[in-house]
């Protein structure tokens, strides 16, 4: 597979890991923001190839994990109270446990919940069911946001009156700023998410270097991309540089995809948003603009937030902030595992705990 196989080659991967071990002298803490990076790093056993002085922290980059308990309960409650509505959702949201239930359980109990691979799938459903309301539960960061925005614009253009979107979208740079501002963890540098940055542009991270002295490298998701990204960041840290570098330059540019940014701005505007484990981060969420309010499920159905109860004993919040690794949580791999997840970090395929569990290293 072109542009995939070349970035999975064993020789280069092992060579880069060797190089990292060669040049890395300082004790450093690197945060990889993106759940897909957590996944890749675990899947290919990359952590095991790094020297002990490099601490790799998994940050809050899993859209399902950082959705607040209130929002998770909100969507589950909605599916219970409005069985007449067809709910379209991305696969990951299905198994997230709320206080009482999950979308998967509600589906088994009769709610019409359908997994879509693309937000366009919701338009398809709306087309085929003109007498019924369709609501898309939209989670995801800036990679997914423009696709949902484009879907709303397409729905408007084609005159659909039975489709709306519940926006639970979150934005990456405000979260990174909040982490640095919280001062709770010491982060020396960031591995930034390749596809989010393809949309927003690497310039979105300049403030981290200038205001916080944290170098960043935007990396792709194939194992060689991830390892090369870590290498470039470690090199910066060893050399004392504080730059924004792009490893994934075959896809990512400084300005990003400006057309996609325009589409986002035409449909959404920034709002406050509650992040599980972090709290409210101003300007980190997205609301649908007033002029498109007919497509805003929140307004169309006046959906109240659900209960904001964290599952007992769950330390997902600390995992998300990179304060602990999953194995520090007493529930990890015992009471909390992929088959019986307690918190979202175990349920989502991108959750730090799920990735840790699935790809745990050979003892």
């Amino acid at each position: 597979m072109k542009y995939i196989d070349e970035f999975r080659r064993r020789e280069e991967a092992q060579g880069l890991l060797r190089k990292i071990r060669e040049i890395s002298k300082k004790e450093v803490s690197i945060m990889e923001i993106c759940g897909t990076h957590t996944h890749s790093i675990s899947k290919y056993g990359i952590r095991e190839g790094l020297p002990p002085n490099i601490k790799l922290i998994s940050g809050p980059g899993c859209p399902v994990c950082v959705t607040s308990a209130a929002d998770v309960n909100r969507i589950i409650d909605f599916s219970r109270s409005r069985r007449d509505v067809i709910i379209a959702t991305f696969g990951d949201m299905m198994k997230v446990p709320g206080s009482v239930s999950s979308l998967q359980e509600e589906k088994a109990n009769g709610a019409d919940i359908r997994v879509v691979y693309s937000p366009l799938g919701a338009i398809d459903i709306a087309k085929k069911n003109p007498e019924r309301e369709v609501v898309l539960f939209a989670v995801g960061f800036e990679t997914t946001v423009p696709t949902v925005a484009a879907t709303i614009l397409a729905a408007k253009k084609e005159g659909f009156r039975n489709l709306s979107v519940l926006s639970l979208h979150k934005l990456t740079p405000p979260a990174m700023k909040a982490l640095m501002d919280s001062g709770e963890i010491h982060i020396d540098g960031f591995i930034c998410p390749g596809h989010v940055t393809a949309v927003i542009g690497a310039r979105a991270y300049s403030f981290l270097a200038t205001d916080y002295g944290a170098p960043c490298v935007v990396a792709g998701f194939e194992p060689i991309d991830a390892i090369m990204g870590i290498y470039m960041l470690v090199r910066q840290l060893e050399e004392g540089r504080k730059d924004i570098e792009i490893e994934y330059n075959r896809v990512v540019t400084w300005e990003g995809n400006q057309l996609a940014q325009e589409v986002i701005n035409n449909v959404f505007e920034p709002s406050d948003s509650l992040w599980r484990g972090i709290g409210n981060i101003p300007g980190s969420g997205l609301w649908i603009r007033e002029e498109l309010s007919e497509f805003d499920a929140m307004k169309r159905f006046s959906i109240p937030p659900g209960a904001d109860a964290e599952p007992k004993g769950c330390r997902c919040g600390e995992v998300l902030k990179g304060l602990i690794t999953p194995d520090a949580c007493t529930l990890f791999a015992k009471a909390c595992n992929p088959e019986f997840p307690i918190g979202p970090c175990m349920v989502s395929s991108e959750g730090t705990c799920a990735a840790f569990y699935k790809y745990r290293k050979v003892a």
């Binding site: 899947k43 859209p63 290293k361």
Partner: protein, 338 residues
């Protein structure tokens, strides 16, 4: 009497509609002397050997997919469960639970497909049943098949016999059926369909057993849960670990591509015409030769080995050289965007 275009509740109620359906559709298609009397049971004698008996139900949606249909699946699946135990499949039963409103044309297609598959495989469908449920209470059609086979070998094929040093072989590419189904379902359309690998494996297993009568320890077909799940079951039964290399597992390019798009792992996807065999090291060459000479085994490959230690675990050497644990499938794989 006028011909019915759809299945009605009457077709399942045991009266004249039922009788006509059995005679004109099922008996006509499956046509064999044991079925012909249309008694409540089929009566036969079998050679005085060990027998194998299995059953499976088939609920696949969609009922027609590239490379097969629920009917073909129901015949092959049950034949395969017998075949991987070293049994020669002989007779099958076929029970249908049909949703009111299924078109006669679709039912006929399925039944003819079963008849064709059975005939090609040399098995007879000798008894069966039909029920019809109200519209909305079924999913077009559910099929259950049970199968009887005759053991031609002396040793028991069971993973408990696996020992460190035994070699793991797959008969061909992984994930074809799973992807064929997933990509055909509503919402995930692919333009170049990957075909299901649905096939009856008994002639392949016969060839393998003939090549190494006592060298094969265990065989299983990786249906739901895929290769990873079978290997975990093997490792658990055997009380040792199984070590495999990702690079050695044959996967079609198109399946890889579809998995990348949807975020699926081919090692967890269903296969309906493939098997996994654990073979004594000394018999590997002979078994591989026999497999590769058979149309259903031409892509057969060694993918790993049973090892001491790490009891019950499956260890995967990833494509970049580091090792990790390969778990059983937990819950459903769902298409993800993140």
């Amino acid at each position: 009497m006028k011909e019915n275009k759809t299945i009605l509740l009457a077709h399942g109620s045991g009266g004249s509609y039922s009788r006509r359906l059995v005679e004109e559709v099922f008996a006509k298609a499956f046509s064999n002397p044991l079925l012909a009397p249309l008694n409540d049971q089929a009566v036969f004698t079998l050679p005085a050997k060990k027998l194998a008996f299995t059953t499976d139900s088939y609920v696949v949606n969609p009922i027609f997919f590239p490379g097969g249909d629920i009917g073909k699946l129901s015949v092959c699946g049950t034949i395969n469960d017998l075949a991987v135990g070293g049994a020669e499949p002989v007779y099958l039963s076929a029970s249908f639970i049909i949703e009111e409103g299924l078109s006669m044309e679709e039912l006929l297609r399925i039944v003819l497909s079963m008849a064709k598959t059975a005939k090609e495989a040399g098995v007879s469908i000798v008894t069966g049943d039909t029920k019809v449920v109200e519209r909305g209470k079924g999913d077009k059609v559910f099929i259950n098949t049970a199968g009887i086979g005759v053991l031609n070998i002396d040793q028991e094929l069971t993973p408990a016999n696996i020992r460190p040093g035994d070699v793991v072989i797959v008969s061909g590419t992984m994930g074809d059926h799973g992807i064929a189904i997933l990509t055909h379902r509503e919402g995930i359309q692919m333009e170049s369909p990957v075909e299901s690998d649905c096939a009856a494996l008994h002639t392949l297993t016969n060839a393998m057993l003939a090549a190494a009568p006592s060298g094969i320890k265990a065989m299983r077909d990786p249906t739901r849960g895929g290769l990873a799940t079978v290997l975990n079951e093997f490792a658990a039964s055997a009380g040792c670990s199984i070590s495999i290399r990702e690079d050695d597992i044959p996967v079609r390019e198109a399946v890889k591509g579809a998995c990348e798009i949807l975020g699926f792992d081919p090692l967890y996807l269903a296969n309906e015409g493939k098997l996994i065999a654990v073979v004594e090291a000394g018999s590997v060459e002979a078994v591989l030769k026999a497999m590769r000479s058979h149309p259903l085994g031409k892509d057969a490959a060694v993918i790993g080995v049973a090892e001491e230690g790490h009891k019950g675990k499956v260890l995967l050497e990833t494509s970049i050289g580091n090792r990790r644990i390969l778990d059983m499938l937990s819950g459903e794989q769902l298409p993800r965007i993140c």
